[in-house]
Symmetry: C2
Subunit: 255 residues, 2 copies
Amino acid sequence: MGLKMFSQAHTGNVVKMVPALVLPPGQAGLHTIFDKQPTECFDSGAAVIWEGDPAGHVFEILDGTLRAFRLIGDGRRAIIGFLNAGDILGVTLSERYLYSVEAITPCKIRRIARLRFDEIAVNSPDLRPQLLARMREEMASAQNQMVLLGRKTAEERVSSFLLARAQSMAGQSGTRRFIVLPMSRLDIADYLGLTIETVSRVISKLVKMGVVCAQGRHTLLIKSADRLALLAGDEDDDEDGWSVGARTRQAVWPN
Amino acid sequence: MGLKMFSQAHTGNVVKMVPALVLPPGQAGLHTIFDKQPTECFDSGAAVIWEGDPAGHVFEILDGTLRAFRLIGDGRRAIIGFLNAGDILGVTLSERYLYSVEAITPCKIRRIARLRFDEIAVNSPDLRPQLLARMREEMASAQNQMVLLGRKTAEERVSSFLLARAQSMAGQSGTRRFIVLPMSRLDIADYLGLTIETVSRVISKLVKMGVVCAQGRHTLLIKSADRLALLAGDEDDDEDGWSVGARTRQAVWPN
DNA sequence: CGGGGACTTGAGTACTATCAAGCGATGTGG
DNA sequence: CCACATCGCTTGATAGTACTCAAGTCCCCG
């Protein structure tokens, strides 16, 4: 798939922390659970788990990018999310995998049996808060995505996506002006609830507007973060005219 | 708001289990955490929490229906979910509330300080698995909603919604043919990423098709569950032609 | 250097949104 | 007790955004 350059982007020292998660110094992170597991390598396009299979393992992504997706009738595909180095796959699952996961770039992954992961992570007073924090983070991101898919225009969706990508890259190389897109336009489209053509058109438009500029097909450079943020439309300007009922806090009835 | 009838629908004995959650017999449920808290009552339209406020409490819904929503520019509203009797609000939140919650019908609610809830639920070996199960359930439902919003047509969205409502009612009265919709068409629209008119049109169409029949504006009767399920389009018939890469499991490279 | 896949761009279409009017239930005041 | 105002909903006509179909271009890789 000609994307080998991306598989090298996050290497160096392989075990790394998620930027958002600030760990108490001196404490072991969730990743230590995987320390003794062998590293598995997946080529681009290879499947890691299948929707519907018994959820036997939890995975740590060491390197590469993956897509988590579900298929519905007529061959429609919805991408639930992308996974990057540092992410842990499978913590929110119980009986069966609810989505399939495939490598987008060549990936390095470690796995551990679900039961064993739960045993260690849930029972450890140190690791448990980290696990919960991760689940909450994942939930918050899912809710953002619901807002995006339910109420944003194509332009806002693409802008939001690019902005989120830029921010997730921020911790890596210091500069947050680079947007790396290892996934195809089709992946982006299936993630944003759009078609490949619409994604392409919006990106072209953003380039013409001078908000970003293209550095090959898989890298963008942000020229105006402010305008991009504006286009993403995350503000909450107007909050009247919508709440149906009165906006008054209710007194407590002593029951 | 003329919806008093619904506030009585689930009363009787006030503390009830969520149908989906099968608790080990003899063990105390998460709801016992709220047992000593006073009951608060909210009128239709009253706000329980506000997006952006510090997340001070966790709430147990005893009775009534509520909407959780976020506002974005131009007065657009996205409803994240509806809350019903037995639901617990706030378990997936950390620092601040990520959405506002308003009562749709008059509601009875109990609350407990976040820190105290965490202390009890997270540290109890009995309650912890229940908490995790709830979070996983919430996550699964969020992912379903992402698929719905990203890749389903208006007809499929409304059908899916009605079906989900019917299933959630199933535990209540034995029969799963009744769909109760305490929320307005606008609430449904903002939940499904549609307009009020489209929701109305689709429901009218379903009635004309004989799939459901209307019993007043807030109750539907399912005439053909099979056809409704078909219209909801949750099947996964076709799984070729979409996955870009090869669908082969990858061998483990001994690294 | 040539083939093929990913992407871009264009033209026409369709689904859903928007604008607008009408309906029906509820509740109120004359 | 009934006319009437109101609100939520339904239905109709029109418009617009994003989709579909179809070339055409660029880039990667053999």
